[in-house]
């Protein structure tokens, strides 16, 4: 019960909000203090991308954690993780558009058409926009819970696209170790949901997989 009391403490949400901003503070201070090596633009693009993926994983981990650890109070942080994933995705897209493309719309469009992994990343970004836009309570009420939930299942697709984007980017260097770690995390989080829905849809209880 100690964990639940901590999770519902009035300071918990503001504290988590500040913690979620720490990566941004770390990245920006590193760039301003010239501690990120001689290619700060590459560093900004890559670090914002990896933090977006980390927050996406955190948002997707809330429900499995809630069920498996029996901590219903943890659900109140899901929206914040999701919105921070969006914030870091926006920073990622902005860094790319600014530092890699110099904010030239024509160059960006050509680039999306030419490099498949950019197209995949942009698609994931576009899919996240309606989710971020309908994240507040009134939008949930306006859509109705079931329609809202159906819409927000798009996040599973976003997670898949994010992994593909990362994989394709690293494939150029034949360097898959880090990608595989995130792919395994996302696969576990989505796989757990898949198994659960199969179990739920059957008229009889799901067999115990551990027996």
């Amino acid at each position: 019960m100690g964990a639940t009391r901590l999770l519902v403490h009035p300071v918990a949400k503001p504290a988590l909000f500040v913690v979620c901003l720490l990566p941004l503070a770390f990245v920006l201070s590193g760039v301003l203090l010239d501690r990120v090596g001689p290619n700060p633009s590459e560093y900004l693009i890559r670090s914002s991308g990896i933090w977006a993926l980390r927050f996406l994983c955190l948002a997707l981990a809330v429900t499995p954690l809630r069920v498996l650890a029996g901590l219903p109070a943890i659900a109140r942080f899901r929206r914040m993780f999701g919105l921070f994933a969006f914030v870091y995705v926006v920073l990622h897209a902005l860094s790319y558009a600014w530092f890699d493309m110099g904010f030239i719309a024509g160059d960006i469009l050509t680039d999306i058409g030419r490099r498949p992994f950019i197209l995949v990343g942009v698609t994931a970004f576009m899919l996240l926009i309606p989710l971020a836009a309908t994240s507040f309570n009134r939008a949930i009420r306006a859509l109705g819970a079931s329609r809202w939930q159906a819409l927000h299942r798009a996040v599973y697709g976003v997670a898949g696209l994010a992994i593909l984007h990362f994989f394709w980017m690293r494939a150029g260097k034949n360097d898959h170790a880090e990608v595989m770690v995130y792919a395994a995390i996302v696969a576990a989080l989505l796989g757990w949901r898949g198994l659960r829905s199969i179990g739920r849809n059957r008229s009889f209880p799901a067999p115990n997989r551990h027996s």
Partner: protein
């Protein structure tokens, strides 16, 4: 007198691309003002670094044994562009034997043992030989050459190398009539190279050139940079530098040079042929699926908010090497 020409990096198709002197000088003025704290403490430290970085370019950093070279007379070998900071060249590069991160070479390469060192020259040559490094150092007169280096990842540097044309060694060993390619085999020492345990690339790393490319005077056997011997992370004790090709073609820490009749397989080409061609010529018109090759960021010079600069055909060495590829479809032979 300095004659400004495209050989020396002055490629300005439109006079409007040249920054007016008054505007250029304002930059330092601004940096001085900012370094004085006018823009807050953090910006001041950043500006101070830039303001201090006006020291003469290419000065020996005094870290390793000196290896002086005389100014090269080879056409195109002495660009007068601003030389990249020694610190950036030695802390940000790819040397996959030591890891895939850009700072891994600087971190792990010091453990590599470079003495004694021998380079075996074999294959289709009349005089195969096993050269001790000391003998290779004496084989040609040491020249300093300031080359642009363009990485396939879209960044570039300007580096003063010390060495001599590879052709001097090639003439010495007398290639046979059937020799058409030169293969470079690099060091693979599991004791000092942690990434040999991974399968990112087939080890040892190998690269190759067509014999006429290897004979071009710009193709260099380098032993030093910035007036000193090469640091381990930059390919000590001996490497090739081919300035009109993407960086991956310039193999580091050579242990073997082999002359062959057939085109040898090369490491990056083996793992991802659509992305890394055998030729690897810098070409802004042929894109890599991961990085646009139309433009590049000059490390340490083009600021975060500056537009990237246009990449030049053959990295600006078209006058010197263009004739090697006459009649070839460069979209196909990338």
């Amino acid at each position: 007198m300095i004659i400004k020409s495209s050989d020396r990096g002055f490629v300005h198709p439109v006079p409007g691309e040249i920054t007016p002197k008054a505007v250029y000088e304002q930059r330092r003025e601004w940096l001085r003002i900012m370094a004085g704290g006018a823009a807050g403490a953090i910006m001041a430290s950043w500006a101070a670094r830039c303001a201090l970085a006006q020291a003469p370019a290419g000065a020996a950093p005094g870290k390793l044994a000196p290896l002086p070279g005389t100014r090269s007379g080879v056409s195109g070998a002495m660009t007068i562009e601003k030389v990249t900071d020694y610190k950036d060249v030695t802390s940000y590069n790819n040397f996959y034997e030591f890891g895939t991160g850009k700072s891994d070479p600087a971190r792990y390469a010091p453990a590599m043992k470079t003495t004694p060192w021998t380079v075996e020259v074999e294959g289709a040559v009349k005089k195969p030989a096993r050269y001790h490094l000391e003998d290779l150092l004496k084989l040609g007169a040491m020249e300093e050459r300031i080359y642009r280096l363009r990485c396939v990842e879209g960044w570039s540097m300007v580096i003063p190398w010390v060495g001599y044309s590879l052709s001097e060694l090639i003439q010495r060993v007398e290639p046979l009539g059937n020799a058409r390619f030169v293969e470079f085999v690099t060091a693979a020492d599991p004791a000092s190279m942690p990434a040999l345990a991974t399968r990112v690339l087939p080890w040892p790393y190998t690269e190759a050139l067509r014999l006429d490319e290897a004979m071009n005077p710009l193709t260099m056997l380098a032993f030093g940079m910035y007036g000193e011997v090469l640091p381990n992370q930059n390919g000590a004790p001996v490497r090739v530098v081919i300035p009109w090709k993407y960086g991956y073609k310039s193999a580091k820490s050579l242990v073997k040079i082999r002359f062959t009749e057939r085109q040898p397989p090369t490491s990056w080409n083996r793992v991802a042929a659509p992305e890394y061609g055998f030729f690897g010529n810098v070409n802004p018109n042929v894109d890599h699926p991961r990085w646009s090759q139309a433009s590049e960021r000059r490390i340490g010079e083009d600021g975060l908010f500056a537009r990237k600069r246009k990449t030049l055909m053959f990295n600006g060495y078209e006058a010197q090497v263009g004739q090697l590829y006459v009649g070839m479809d460069l979209e196909k032979y990338y």
